[in-house]
């Protein structure tokens, strides 16, 4: 016993080192894998306040750009409203399709694009009905999904996160693939698993598929910018230029799907727990 204690004492620095490192590694692995409502992230009130302060400086200098984008989005939305009012006069629309999705507008108070696993923090939380797993979009296209929420803030896993995969579809040909970032260029992601019999072209639009558990069908991810087919490769190498420039993200919308719980419980009874 004494010798054991002696041993522990003698190697105390090394043992402390090992246990701290194991603890950190455990935190890190858990952090990148699970959606959660943990306390220790940028949705924490104090942290979010400090981040918001530091973001203010950056935002101030980006105001012109943000204003322009908001004005453009306003214009698009107004046209949409016009079209919808015209349509509603003539046709009876089933009520369930009308309330299928609800949008919560949120301001981005923290955003990174240069790490391998990027996140953003937004200024809406459980008080606006946000929950982990909800889709986040901007006026231009898909942005990410909610990872953790606190009362007034939420952390969003950005599309620019090497762990994030989004089931997408090549709109013109209807082929399904997976959009995933490779960690290098914040302007483009890869579209994986498009088989070689398909003929994708530059400029084809890539949208989210209905198979996606997070995004509604048809949210724009980006446009195909590069197509490459290696000899004897099963799949294309396709680069997709993101519709949303993540370096200039200021406002986003969180999508609350009204029918999501119903879909989930149906799938759960059929296939078992979703992993």
């Amino acid at each position: 016993m004494f010798r054991l204690l002696n041993f522990l004492y003698y190697y105390r620095a090394f043992l402390t080192f090992l246990s701290l490192e194991f603890f950190c590694a455990w935190l890190w692995i858990g952090n990148s894998r699970y959606q959660n409502t943990r306390f220790f992230n940028s949705a924490n009130r104090v942290v979010a306040a400090i981040l918001g302060f530091s973001e203010l400086t950056r935002e101030y200098f980006g105001l012109i750009e943000v204003n322009r984008e908001l004005a453009e989005e306003n214009a698009t939305l107004r046209t949409l409203v016009e079209q919808l009012t015209l349509r509603e006069e003539g046709i009876l629309v089933a009520t369930d399709t009308l309330v299928r999705f609800e949008f919560v507008s949120a301001r981005v108070i923290n955003n990174t694009v240069s790490q391998f696993k990027n996140h953003l923090t937004i200024n809406r939380g459980t008080d606006m009905g946000l929950a982990p797993g909800m889709a986040v979009v901007s006026g231009a296209g898909a942005v990410g999904k909610v990872k953790s929420v606190s009362e007034h803030f939420a952390v969003v896993t950005s599309l620019l996160n090497t762990d994030e995969q989004v089931s997408s579809v090549l709109k013109r040909t209807g082929n399904f693939g997976t959009a995933q970032w490779d960690g290098v260029d914040p302007r483009t992601v890869n579209l994986l698993y498009i088989p070689r019999h398909v003929q994708p072209q530059r400029g084809d639009s890539v949208v989210t598929s209905g198979y996606n558990a997070v995004f509604p069908e048809g949210v724009l991810v980006g446009l195909v910018s590069e197509v490459e087919l290696k000899e004897e490769a099963q799949f294309y190498v396709i680069r997709v230029e993101l519709a949303q420039d993540f370096r200039r993200l200021a406002w986003v919308q969180v999508i609350r799907s009204q029918l999501r719980p119903e879909l989930d419980s149906l799938e759960q009874t059929t296939f078992g727990e979703r992993k």
Partner: protein
């Protein structure tokens, strides 16, 4: 609490806030990061207990992680630096040894010694940090370029801060 401990507590808070408010935003060319908070661990007095050193490193890294949404990553890299620091200090002891009560600073030991002391440790920190974040060696060259550009950037800022301190104390 003596004066020295209070000074260290203040510098802990300053490095943390400086990192998360200022340097978190200052990313150059999309690849170069400045992780100046490493300097807090490097600048602690030479006779600091290794256990205390690792605990400081853990907490500093942990708080930085909370702001970067990368729980565990910065803590892991910084604890490693804290563990290696004293061994490295022992192996590069200048002739005549260290003066007791002095920090391993540029003002005391000179620029050449200072770079030999800090550069490898900052390199280890950045290397571990970026390759852990990338999840392995999958995109090796890009990750390495991130490590090297960040190394230059961080070292520049650390040296700048050292000169600034040096001039103020004279």
């Amino acid at each position: 609490m003596n004066r020295e401990a209070i000074g260290q507590a203040i510098s802990f808070v300053l490095y943390l806030l400086g990192q998360v408010i200022l340097f978190r935003q200052l990313i150059l060319f999309n690849t170069a990061f400045c992780f100046v908070y490493v300097a807090f661990i490097l600048m602690l007095p030479i006779e600091t207990n290794p256990l205390a050193l690792m605990l400081f490193a853990f907490f500093l890294g942990f708080f930085v992680d909370v702001f970067y949404d990368s729980l565990g990553l910065h803590a892991l890299s910084l604890v490693l630096v804290a563990y290696l620091r004293n061994y490295w200090l022992a192996s590069i002891t200048p002739q005549g040894g260290y003066d007791s009560g002095q920090g391993p600073t540029l003002a005391v030991n000179g620029i050449q010694w200072f770079v030999v002391y800090t550069l490898p440790l900052v390199f280890v920190h950045h290397g571990v940090l970026f390759f852990t974040e990338a999840g392995g060696f999958g995109i090796f060259w890009f990750t390495l370029s991130k490590v090297m550009t960040s190394l230059v950037y961080t070292m520049t800022i650390i040296l700048f801060l050292q000169y600034f301190n040096f001039r103020r104390r004279r």
